[in-house]
């Protein structure tokens, strides 16, 4: 492990992407993700890469689509309103079976909303970041170190499954500094992409990257094939961290920034003898239903904590499927809940148990 340095989440993530072999970044400034772009603008020229500030988010994601078509490891980053603009391109990436890394450093919405941290883009990220039948992989870091660690995984998963991957971060994780160990060794070789449109060099038939299938049965068949892939991912790629779940009567489900707050609250509750634990989803799609399943029988209830009006709680309820009560606590609009608020919520529920 390399020496631990103090870095902002946004910058650590950008450096990790370069270590992971990403040499193409297309973006547009927006708070609170701008450090990613600024860092890339500084670093990319030094490593022979491309940093391009596009005229719009729409354009940036389509540049990503072009670079991915040509076989490059490519990324873009934005914050909530910008992701809405990118959703067209993300749908096309998914429809064209192209890998790409998309970072969302979430801020509050809807509309221009606010610039403070939020988790109100959960539905957007996990349900459909654009039109049509498709999924993207969604990873949710909760520390600056995890921002770094998940970047390489995100690129690899994207290449493996030929699909877009989103890292769903937020203004808190992006802006905060924490000690982090950066990868000691940069990725040296990237997977072959025989499907890429990088010039056939008179050695193969022409490749076509396309999402248009004008014949409905052909498109339906293709979607069924793609959903087989999604099924496989659902079975094999779920990730979550369990914290003190073994003896827990109450399990909090929280990801990203709100999982950190919840963790503080859990420590306080445990100090008072309340048996509470946490499932912290790391993959938001695929949703780690297996972790809920594993714990559903021994707990009395679940509490979902989010920085939204309640979005991920839908997935918790789907996984619990009525077997145990699922309650929700959230702050929204750019407000980070405090550990005391979550502790009070825990006590309310524990008192009722």
């Amino acid at each position: 492990m390399s020496e631990r340095v103090l870095m902002k989440g946004n910058e650590a993530l950008a450096e990790a992407a370069i270590s992971a072999g990403c040499r193409h970044f297309f973006g547009y400034p927006i708070t609170p993700q701008t450090e990613v772009a600024a860092y890339m603008a500084k670093r990319m020229p030094k490593v022979g890469g491309t940093y391009l500030q596009a005229e719009s988010e729409v354009s940036a994601i389509n540049m990503v689509l072009g670079a991915s078509s040509a076989g490059a490891r490519v990324m873009t980053s934005s914050s909530s309103p910008g992701i809405s603009l990118k959703s067209e391109g993300i749908s096309y990436l998914a429809g064209s079976d192209l890998p790409a890394l998309i970072i969302n450093v979430q801020r509050a919405g809807p509309g221009l909303g606010g610039i403070q941290p939020s988790q109100a883009d959960y539905w957007q990220a996990t349900r459909s970041t654009g039109h049509g039948d498709f999924h993207i992989l969604v990873l949710a870091p909760s520390t600056v170190q995890e921002m770094v660690d998940l970047v390489a995984d995100a690129f690899d998963l994207g290449d493996k499954y030929r699909m877009p991957v989103m890292i769903l971060s937020d203004g808190m994780l992006g802006q905060m500094m924490e000690p982090v160990s950066l990868p000691e060794k940069a990725v040296e070789s990237l997977p072959e992409k025989p499907w890429a449109t990088n010039g056939h060099k008179n050695q193969r038939k022409h490749n076509v990257i396309n999402s248009l299938y004008i014949n409905p049965p052909e498109l339906e068949t293709l979607l069924h094939e793609r959903y087989k892939k999604y099924d496989h991912i659902n079975k094999t790629e779920q990730r979550a961290e369990e914290y003190l779940t073994d003896d827990a009567d109450l399990i909090i489900v929280a990801y990203g920034a709100s999982s950190r707050v919840s963790r503080s609250a859990i420590d306080m509750a445990r100090a008072e003898g309340i048996k509470v634990g946490m499932i912290r989803p790391i993959t938001l799609w695929p949703y780690p239903v297996d972790y809920i399943e594993k714990n559903v029988n021994h707990v009395n209830s679940f509490l979902c904590v989010e920085m939204s009006m309640g979005q991920m709680v839908d997935d918790v309820r789907l996984a619990v499927n009525g077997r145990k009560p699922v309650s929700f606590f959230g702050r929204t609009g750019g407000i980070i809940p405090t550990p005391i608020e979550v502790l009070n919520e825990i006590k309310k529920i524990a008192g009722g148990i």
């Binding site: 193409h24 491309t50 596009a54 689509l65 072009g66 670079a67 078509s69 040509a70 990088n198 490749n207």
Partner: protein, 251 residues
């Protein structure tokens, strides 16, 4: 027997879906001939648009990418930035290039993005069935300007070559048409030159081809070309609007 005429190698051996009298087929062929002449098929990547030429990815033997409506210049930028030795062209209609994709077009041009743009201007949306295009002429009747394009409410047509020629990143901006043999020859030269400029790294090159749409104009192929000569060419004069090698000049 000597072969006098054959398909260019860069053109796929499949039937085109275009309407009778449509000029897309001619322009496709000119692009394929230019690719053959320059021997660049193996490193060329084409971007198909949304519009009538949406299936262009099936018509060329080089690698092809299908872009979202208007986004071809952005997609082309991504491909080109991965490897500057790629020869990248976009094939775009007037709605794609000058309405929904205006931002992408203007910014690719002003960045001097080293790509070649073949722009089909037929003053109408063909695939969706004949709606007003950004280049529809004043007074032109379309499905969405049933009383003729009223510039007071629908604005004026955009003259793309003139507009783009003001940008420093543009290496070549030329307007041609393919209504007769002489003009087809000029168009061929312009398209080839546009590719050559890209290979030389001179910047953004665009060839605007004033085209006909007999189906949506409601004219026979022959009458459509006559309408093009009578109405389109006065509004969209042919010529070179920018050429970094020769300075600005008109044919």
């Amino acid at each position: 027997m000597a072969t006098l005429f054959s398909k260019p190698h860069a053109m796929a051996d499949v039937p085109l879906h275009y309407c009778p009298g449509c000029t897309h087929g001619i322009v496709h062929r000119l692009i394929a001939e230019a690719i053959d002449d320059l021997g660049i098929e193996g490193r060329t990547i084409g971007i198909a648009p949304v519009g009538c030429s949406v299936f262009a990815y099936d018509y060329f033997n080089c690698d092809m990418v299908e872009a979202a409506h208007g986004r071809a210049p952005a997609v082309a930028t991504g491909i080109k930035r991965v490897d500057p030795d790629h020869v990248v062209f976009t094939y775009q209609g007037d709605g794609d290039l000058a309405a929904i994709g205006t931002a992408e077009t203007v910014h690719a041009a002003t960045r001097g993005e080293n790509i070649t743009v073949i722009f089909i201007n037929n003053a109408i949306y063909g695939m969706t069935g004949g709606q007003m295009a950004p280049t529809s002429l004043p007074g032109q009747v379309t499905q969405t300007t049933p009383y003729g394009r009223d510039v007071k409410t629908a604005g004026y047509p955009i003259r793309v070559c003139e507009m783009l020629s003001t940008l420093d990143g543009v290496a070549l901006a030329q307007r041609v048409t393919v209504d007769c043999v002489k003009n087809v020859r000029t168009a061929k030269k312009a398209i080839k030159k546009a590719f050559e400029y890209q290979i030389e790294g001179l910047g953004y090159s665009i060839v605007e081809v004033v085209s006909s749409c007999p189906t949506n104009w409601g004219l026979s192929p022959k009458d459509a070309l006559e309408w093009l000569r009578q109405n389109m060419l006065p509004y969209y004069p042919l010529g070179v609007y920018k050429d970094v090698k020769e300075g600005e000049s008109r044919e």
